[in-house]
Subunit: 292 residues, 2 copies
Amino acid sequence: MWRNYLKEHQIQVEACLQTLVPAQAGPLSRIMESMRYSLFAGGKRLRPILLLAAADAVGAVGSRFLQSACALEMIHTYSLIHDDLPAMDDDDYRRGRLTNHKVFGDGMAILAGDGLLTLAFETLLSQTEVAPEILARVAREVAQAAGPAGMVGGQAIDLESEGQLPSPDVMKLMHRLKTGALFRASLRAGAMLGGGSEEDLRSLTDYAEHFGLAFQITDDILDVTGTEEALGKPIGSDEKNQKATYVSVYSLTEARRMAQAAVSDAVAALERFGDRAWVLRSLAEYLLTRDS
Amino acid sequence: MWRNYLKEHQIQVEACLQTLVPAQAGPLSRIMESMRYSLFAGGKRLRPILLLAAADAVGAVGSRFLQSACALEMIHTYSLIHDDLPAMDDDDYRRGRLTNHKVFGDGMAILAGDGLLTLAFETLLSQTEVAPEILARVAREVAQAAGPAGMVGGQAIDLESEGQLPSPDVMKLMHRLKTGALFRASLRAGAMLGGGSEEDLRSLTDYAEHFGLAFQITDDILDVTGTEEALGKPIGSDEKNQKATYVSVYSLTEARRMAQAAVSDAVAALERFGDRAWVLRSLAEYLLTRDS
């Protein structure tokens, strides 16, 4: 039944994104097309779902905050476009389709990323039905998570350490910044928008840390054990790019054990929310069985 | 005496930027170094000065809003870093120094731009002494100006039209988005932060439109008549890159006449502010004599 929740809310996010980033004629048609190409490429909308489910968990109706949820997806999409560039990971395929720069060229891909990042903040700050002090706090939280002390910083560490295996500590920091920070902001934003208490916020932050870790470990496992069909991209790319992963630093068996422990810890952090956190609970457990 | 104002406030902006973007040891040292390299490259701090002077004009003490002013400089700097990339204008020099990607590599330059853009929003939204509804409004205004309907859109039009001269209308739209939008946001943000009335806001918006136009025309003129020493970059790059400019679309004489008219219009828009707008008045007039 949580798959129904997922599908239903994915459709809502999709529809909202369509109104926020519409196709356009005229001189701006190409940049909008480039942004839309990557935004509507069949993503799982995980960050939006986390935000909505966190608002549910603190007792609000999550779908009131679809616009914030979409802003997070814009930031995630921008990061993928820039990550795929030849100057970064140099990937030709993503989700079974050519990457943005292979279709629109490197220059337009850089601008599409820049555009999505900026539009995300405009979107976050344009919700007239949310109190301005909440808006400002949520947008600040997201900016922090996406910036040099968060996602951009993690990507910079990743870029610096290619070809030279970093220490396990630096690898963990890199992942916490590169993917963990935006998960954390998604969950905390949902709690803030939904009017959660500081105690709610602490529990969801705790959940976020463990969720992010489990996500990263299972991501590294999939790069070894997954199939190209399910992933929509070549497997074994981490090894090819000499990246430090939980599988290469530890082992496949140990990585699986660590993922299971992280999921248990994530679920434990949800205790105070009872049934209202059922989606977040299912999402964490799903990480152990995902194939993409 | 306005040069004293300029120098004094440039020093304040410089000091504030130093605290907002400090050098850092550890795994994030390189990305911070890359951001700082371009941020402290001797820019004129024109957008921060416009914000501070606009707050002065509506009767506030501009220097209370240094943090917002610095955020605008971060956004301007990010746009220069990305514009200089090989995938865009492919420039090796800026302000007499190697461009960011020539020193740090394309990947780190992209990230430095991403980092500055994101940090700008964090900075805007972290001013505890400003009311949250003003903060949210100012940040939304800046996001709009920097995004696909503003600066990013202008850059996209520029990228699309290289090698094929666009119509005068498309060229004007491109400049209004690429450079005009952020000037406009700087002035409007200053007015909002300073507690200006809607009438104040309208007059400063009017000033901004004319100021932006005069800036762009004189920029195009300098690319033909300027010296490499004063500009810190090769002259004639617009012609080399087959860019549509006010000089190529009209003529040098006509462009000079248009710049003069735009400055007169800008100054006229300041009438209601009287002496309090003396810096904005001097800034507009300076455009006609600038050599860089």
